[in-house]
């Protein structure tokens, strides 16, 4: 009797199909020869195949569908019979002579369908009779399919409004009553399956069930009998339970379909739905006390009936939830309800007043509160899902009610606070969804910052997720180009994204992927650049706020965050330099004040340590101070840069880079008086000459020549010192050449000489009186000799460089005019 194994089942199904086909064959013959007696006989035999208990619901359904198709042919035959004058009432009586109850009832339903169509009796009477008769089958699977058959054949014959079967009065009521009754019976059958223990019941029960099944089955509710049945079927109770629940799950649509039929009945208007349909359905759902049925049917109600109805009956619907079994997954059902309503709200602005009118939010909020309160064991994930759905609902229906949104977040925080930090990944995901929803809706962090509970919510995320969320926030700001422009808002924003700003407790550095970290910090840097306010006072406050936060970031973050802050400050400085300078009073923001801040800000990079970056930033500041005509400030910045150069930058390459930066910046400074300038240039040339490698020395020294000859500054044209620098460079180049010769037995490249030659030409053209035709001439000769010397290593690049330099001289000559004249004497 144990019916495990798909193979066995397939065999039984095949046998069933074969039996069915055989009888169908004879039935067809009978139909073709208009032999009613045989038609009934063979159809009853055919339907006997449906009496099997060996098939799982899905297999049974296959068998059922074959029988169903055959019955359509029989139905047509009945119609023809009726047309030929056979009394349909007689037919209705006649089919009841079938020996077995199941075939009898299938035949009865089939004739019943024709009976209604013939209109010889009111539809409602026939339907009532049929739905009552079907009580004869109390075996759940067979009963469910039989009633499903009844539901299907009566589907287009319900006496609803506008239907041709519409009766005199209360006609929709009759239709509804019929479907509700069928639904109730089906649900009872379906729920009862849960309480049948073991398959042996099929062997035990027939004796009890037949004919008076209805009454005998009441016995099952007797705990003693249930126990007795249970004892015989206890093998693998867990497996049995799984199997049973799977079967029930397969059968669920047969029950749910009744609700679909109800929703399709013309004339079930809001009133009727509210007064009759919904209360009756809910009554059945609540009273059946079955977890599977309750979960599924609540979902069905939500899906099959229209949104308008749900809104207008929200209270009734929601009141049912706390009455469900504690194990029912209410959160999913409620979340689906809210999702539906949210979509409805989003579909058209016209429906929104409806939501307000019924106070949908208050009701949902209240219901969720109750559910969470009642279900103490609900996992965090569940609660967050509920709040998340409610928040989505608010964003769709009441986008302007930030207080509602905040209220929901607050409630969520309260729930979370009792559970501590969330470790559950599903819950975390939900929280991210919850927190992302307002961002997506408003596309504006400023609005979201008004939600006081938003940051509190973020507290409950683990560090990793906190960072993810912070990144989402920054991305939203980037995408929407949101202006976060006051210090207060910046304060809240940085509080919100602090996961990226500083180390949260318990983060270990070695856990962090280097690339991810860079990416994160770069996004913070971009964010800092975006903060802006046209009012310098406020902007300064913004900068101070940002500074306060980023200084907590530690050595790894500062190199990313300090530069944007510095540039943001310098932008403000430039803004202040505008035409109406210093419109501020004593206390107000002045460039000087900003520079003081900058000085301190950059100083923090010492601890990183990141001297090269600090040096660059000092030079940037010095240049900005130069533009503001603040000599002492600019001097101070240079001093800082020099100290760094002397004390912190020891790598020779870094020194080369730094010295060129220093020379370049210094060259552009015009704010310095003679004394200060001398000090600084003197130092710079000194550093240049002390670089480690000769070629580096040489290049730095000739670069220094520019410090003494500034094009648009007449007081800074010191030809002699330019020449001194160039001569010094030449000496160094020479030394380099010799050293190279000594060390490797060949001269190095003559490129340095050519470079110096170009400098000579530059200053020659600029009119430096110290640079004469003779000096250039001798330099060219020197280079040519060098190149022809045997020990010279051929260097195509240097050759080409020289050639093009000479071509240049040629070119200038040909230009004619003043330039041509100047160049004319040079022989190349």
């Amino acid at each position: 009797m144990i019916t495990d194994g798909v193979e066995d089942e397939d065999k039984w199904l095949a046998a069933g199909n074969a039996g069915l086909q055989q009888n169908a064959f004879y039935m067809h013959r009978a139909l073709d020869s208009n032999n009613l007696r045989d038609a009934l006989k063979y159809s009853a035999q055919m339907l006997s195949e449906l009496r099997t208990s060996k098939l799982s619901p899905q297999k049974y359904y296959q068998l059922y569908m074959r029988a169903f198709d055959e019955l359509r042919k029989l139905e047509m035959f009945f119609k023809e019979e009726a047309r030929r004058g056979c009394s349909i009432i007689d037919l209705y009586e006649l089919v009841q002579h079938a020996g077995n109850i199941l075939p009898r009832l299938y035949l009865l339903c089939t004739v019943g369908s024709v009976y209604i169509k013939s209109k010889e009796a009111p539809a409602k009477d026939v339907l009532k009779d049929l739905v009552e008769m079907c009580r004869g089958i109390q075996h759940p699977v067979r009963g469910l399919f039989l009633r499903s058959y009844l539901s299907q054949v009566s589907r287009d014959k319900l006496p609803d409004i506008g239907s041709e079967y519409e009766g005199d009065a209360d006609t929709v009521n009759d239709a509804v009553e019929f479907v509700l009754q069928n639904f109730t019976e089906m649900n009872k059958l379906w729920v009862r399956m849960q309480h049948q223990v073991g398959l042996n019941i099929y062997g035990l029960l027939p004796a009890l069930m037949c004919y008076n099944a209805c009454e005998s089955f009441i016995l099952l509710a007797d705990p003693e009998l249930r126990l007795a049945v249970g004892v015989s079927g206890l093998q693998g109770p867990a497996r049995e339970k799984d199997k049973r629940e799977k079967e029930r799950s397969e059968l669920r649509d047969l029950v749910g379909k009744n609700l679909h039929v109800l929703s399709q009945i013309e004339g079930v208007d809001l009133d009727m739905y509210k007064e009759t349909v919904l209360p009756r359905v809910l009554e059945q759902v609540v009273n059946c006390k079955d977890e599977i049925a309750q979960y599924y049917l609540m979902d069905c109600i939500i899906q099959v009936f229209p949104d308008e109805y749900h809104l207008q009956t929200l209270e009734i619907l929601l009141d049912a939830f706390p009455q469900l079994q504690p194990s029912v997954d209410i959160k999913t059902v409620l979340a689906r309800l809210m999702e539906r309503l949210s979509n409805y709200a989003a579909s058209s602005a016209e429906v929104l007043p409806e939501f307000l009118q019924v106070e949908a939010f208050a009701k949902l909020n209240n219901a969720i509160g109750k559910v969470i309160e009642a279900q103490v064991d609900m996992p965090v994930f569940g609660a967050v899902t509920l709040y998340s759905s409610l928040l989505t609902f608010i964003l769709h229906v009441h986008p302007e009610r930030l207080d509602y949104a905040d209220q929901v977040l607050g409630a969520c925080v309260k729930k979370l606070s009792s559970d501590g930090r969330i470790e559950d990944s599903k819950a975390t995901k939900q929280i991210v969804a919850l927190l992302s929803a307002p961002l997506e809706k408003y596309n504006d962090i400023v609005t979201v910052l008004k939600l006081s509970n938003y940051p509190r919510m973020m507290e409950y995320l683990d560090n990793e997720t906190n960072k993810v969320m912070a990144t989402v926030i920054i991305q939203s700001i980037m995408k929407n180009n949101t202006q976060v422009s006051t210090a207060d808002k910046v304060e809240s924003l940085f509080e919100l994204i602090k996961g990226l700003i500083k180390d949260l407790d318990g983060t270990l550095h070695d856990e962090i992927d280097e690339d991810d970290f860079k990416e994160e910090q770069n996004s913070v840097a971009r964010l800092i650049q975006m903060l802006h306010n046209d009012d310098p006072e406020e902007m300064f406050k913004v900068i101070c706020t940002v500074r306060k936060h980023i200084l907590t970031g530690g050595p790894k973050r500062l190199p990313f965050t300090i530069p944007p802050l510095v540039f943001s400050s310098l932008k403000l400085v430039r803004q202040l330099q505008g035409p109406d300078e210093n419109p501020f009073g004593e206390e107000s923001t002045t460039p000087k004040k900003i520079f003081q801040h900058l000085n301190q800000t950059i100083e923090t990079l010492y601890g990183v340590p990141s001297p090269e970056l600090a040096l660059r930033l000092y030079l940037q500041c010095a240049e900005a101070a130069n533009d503001c005509d603040l000599e002492p400030v600019a001097y101070e910045f240079f001093t800082q840069a020099y100290i760094l150069y002397e004390e912190e930058i020891s790598d020779s390459r870094a020194q080369v880079t730094a010295i060129h930066l220093i020379i370049g910046t210094l060259q552009r400074m015009h704010v310095f008086g003679v004394e200060n300038r001398d000090t600084l240039t003197h130092k710079a040339t000194g550093y240049s000459a002390k670089l480690l490698k000769k070629p580096d020395q040489c290049r730095a020294v000739y670069a220094c020549s520019h410090l003494f000859w500034v094009d648009d500054q007449d007081n800074m044209k010191d030809g002699e010192r330019v020449l001194l620098c160039l001569k010094r460079a030449l000496r160094i180049a020479n030394a380099a050449q010799q050293m190279s010769n000594a060390a490797r037995g060949s001269t190095g490249s003559v490129a340095l000489f050519v470079e110096i030659l170009n400098k000579y030409l530059y200053f020659f053209e600029k009119g430096n009186p110290q640079i004469t035709v003779a000096t250039i001439q001798s330099l060219i000769e020197l280079i040519t000799t060098e190149m022809q010397s045997d020990s010279n290593t051929p260097d195509p690049a240097a050759d080409a460089f020289l050639a093009s330099t000479l071509r240049y001289i040629q070119f200038q000559k040909q230009k004619g005019g003043a330039v041509g004249e100047k160049y004319e004497p040079i022989k190349a």
Partner: protein
């Protein structure tokens, strides 16, 4: 026998949730339309008598649940279908993209003897929405797909306004009629006139 069989034409409507399968059927059979969305559970059919070439046929139109969780019993009802109608919403790209899945799923499950030539009809529904401004699937694109699947007839419909629904179902009926029925020919081993009352079942007597 065969003639009786041929009086009934079975049509299955498939497509994503919310594309308007139920609405199309209701518009065609009852000439009614409701804007309200109501999910369908399981499978459900309505019938309609159609006149064709002076003969009367009964069209058995099966409306199905687009949401998988409301299709718990499987798709045994595909069996014996004469035509399959694939519906998508011209305003929802995903519903169009899924047509292929629906078609293949149908061919696998219904396993018609000649899948290449099994009649399908594609309906692009909801062309009325927003005056066509929210449309994302062009007629050209839909027709190209239909052409690539063996010239499936294509109709643009509006269940709401009843546009093209009648024409579409005319075509559906015509194609269903063209489909050669697969009569599983049953040949009895012996003519057992006495009736094949079999006692395989050990169930109860009901």
């Amino acid at each position: 026998m065969a003639s009786r069989r041929r009086m009934l034409l079975k049509v299955i409507i498939l497509g994503d949730s919310g594309v308007g399968k139920t609405s199309l059927m209701n518009q065609y059979v009852n000439r009614k339309f409701s804007n309200q969305y109501k999910a369908t559970i399981g499978a459900d059919f309505l019938t309609k008598e159609v006149q064709f070439e002076d003969r009367l046929f009964t069209l058995q139109i099966w409306d199905t649940a687009g949401q998988e969780r409301f299709q718990s019993l499987g798709v045994a009802f595909y069996r014996g279908a004469d035509c399959c109608v694939l519906v998508y919403d011209v305003n929802v790209m995903k519903s169009f993209d899924n047509l292929n899945n629906w078609r293949e799923e149908f061919l696998i499950q219904a396993s018609p003897s000649d899948p290449e030539n099994f009649p399908f009809v594609v309906l692009g529904n909801k062309i009325d929405v927003d005056g066509g401004n929210s449309r994302v699937v062009s007629e050209k694109k839909a027709k190209a797909w239909c052409a690539s699947k063996g010239n499936i007839p294509y109709f643009e419909t509006s269940a709401k306004e009843g546009f093209n629904v009648e024409a579409a179902f005319q075509c559906i009926a015509k194609n269903a009629l063209k489909n050669e029925p697969e009569e599983e020919v049953y040949l009895p081993d012996t003519i057992d006139v006495g009736g094949g009352q079999q006692q395989r079942s050990s169930g109860c007597e009901c």
